[in-house]
């Protein structure tokens, strides 16, 4: 089947098997910024993308559901030459170790900050709790989101 949707604000038209997940299709088309093992569980969150602005595990979304919708990966945040404050904050705070969970967590944080530009530490902890990180122990990631919120508030002054 053909599925037409917006990927990072550009329209794409992907060919897919109707039983494929969004994760499988994205990676098959070389969108390697979406990491994950295709466990189709949704429990670890590594494969998180934004679907109409909502963070979801892409391995649990059947591709047919994506027609006409908006998908964002970490590419929508920034690139090597132009980092989003979230990306800068993660680097600044040592919140990236192996980096495998990072794209997913950045998107969850993005959605949070869009909804709530001044989240408390508890609110950040809560929002990140669907994403597993085995390397950092979360502390520096929470600090990074706080820092990013600060950077964004400064930018928007």
């Amino acid at each position: 089947m053909k599925v037409r949707f917006k990927l990072n604000h550009s329209e794409v038209n992907y060919e897919a098997h109707p039983g494929e997940s969004l994760f499988e299709v994205l990676r098959r088309y070389g969108n390697y910024e979406v990491k994950g093992n295709n466990c189709r569980d949704g429990s670890c969150g590594a494969c998180t993308v934004l679907l109409d602005g909502v963070p979801v595990p892409s391995c649990t979304i059947l591709i047919g559901r994506v027609e006409g919708r908006d998908v964002e990966t970490v590419k929508s945040l920034g690139d090597m030459d132009n980092l989003h404050p979230l990306q800068r904050a993660f680097l600044e705070k040592g919140a990236v170790q192996c980096g495998y969970c990072t794209p997913g967590i950045l998107l969850v944080a993005k959605a949070l900050l869009e909804r709530n530009p001044n989240p408390s530490k508890e609110e950040i902890q809560e929002e990140l709790s669907g994403n597993i990180c085995r390397c950092t122990g979360y502390v520096q990631q929470i600090e990074a989101v706080e820092r990013a919120a600060e950077l964004l508030r400064e930018e928007n002054k």
Partner: protein
């Protein structure tokens, strides 16, 4: 990949969806949140019917009823202003503890009620609030969720589409929900919904639902009877807790033992009742 799947339909209205469901029965599956399909891929469905284009995404307050479209996600419910109105916000607070923040963006209310995993929180919640479900079988039917679950619902759902969930607003209804977990983000190893309607300072009607027992949610009628017609005093709470521990209809599974579940039934009940009492007394004083 679900390799048996031949086609993914995107019907634009309920009648179209229903016709497809009948046409391709029994090798067909409705896709709400889609999690069950992905988790139990060996179901062997050849035809998938996506429900995203159906007008099933709404939350409405109408004539003493909270109407929720079946495709509304738990995340949307947990952020919706109308939902906050129900039972002093206790329902919304409970929704925020279910699953994980990520999965709440995928799980739909309809999907959760229809799949009804025994360890799920949603059936317990909606049963505790006397929810009703509307489903389409060529025409629309409304049933109390408790009735729906009694009547071989999985069979019925092979040829029916859940469309709305209706939760009544009852003045003087107070609600509390607790779940016991291993870590902060977890399926419940036991959950409990308590709903008390007060009149004249006494409990006019009680509803106590026990879920993830590990079995399917049950109404804990003995506790309900014990609470009804009485003032919610400290003494009543302690009595109820003892009774709950003694009579809890719970079992063991590989996760925790029956004894522990019994114990927990008492603990959760105590917390639920104290919370309700706190809210009720606060309201009465106000």
């Amino acid at each position: 990949m679900l390799k048996e799947v031949l086609e993914f339909y995107r019907p634009q209205n309920i009648e179209e969806a229903y016709d497809l469901l009948l046409k391709h029965s029994p090798h067909v599956q409705l896709v709400g949140g889609g999690l069950d399909l992905i988790w139990r891929e060996r179901k062997g469905a050849k035809y998938l019917i996506g429900l995203d284009s159906l007008p099933l995404k709404f939350v409405r307050l109408k004539e003493g009823l909270l109407e929720i479209g079946a495709m509304v996600t738990i995340r949307e419910l947990s952020q919706n202003e109308a939902v906050q109105e129900l039972v002093q916000g206790a329902f919304q607070e409970a929704l925020k503890t279910v699953a994980t923040p990520l999965l709440r963006g995928v799980i739909t209310l309809g999907g959760a009620l229809v799949q009804a995993y025994p360890w799920s929180d949603i059936p317990s919640l909606i049963l505790g609030l006397d929810g009703q479900v509307e489903f389409f079988q060529g025409e629309y039917r409304i049933l109390n969720l408790s009735e729906f679950y009694k009547n071989n619902f999985r069979q019925v759902l092979k040829q029916a589409i859940l469309t709305r969930v209706l939760i009544p607003f009852v003045p003087e209804r107070y609600f509390s929900f607790r779940r016991f977990t291993r870590t902060s983000v977890d399926i419940p190893l036991l959950n409990q919904a308590v709903s008390l309607d007060f009149k004249g300072g006494k409990v006019r009607r009680a509803r106590v639902i026990l879920g993830s027992r590990p079995g399917f949610p049950l109404q804990f009628e003995e506790i309900e009877r014990h609470l009804e017609g009485k003032e919610l005093t400290e003494g009543l709470i302690l009595e109820a807790v003892l009774l709950a521990r003694e009579k809890a209809p719970v079992d063991s599974d590989f996760r925790i033992s029956q004894e522990f579940r019994r114990n927990l039934t008492g603990v959760l009940l105590e917390e639920n009742l104290r919370e309700i009492r706190g809210k009720y007394e606060g309201q009465v004083q106000a």
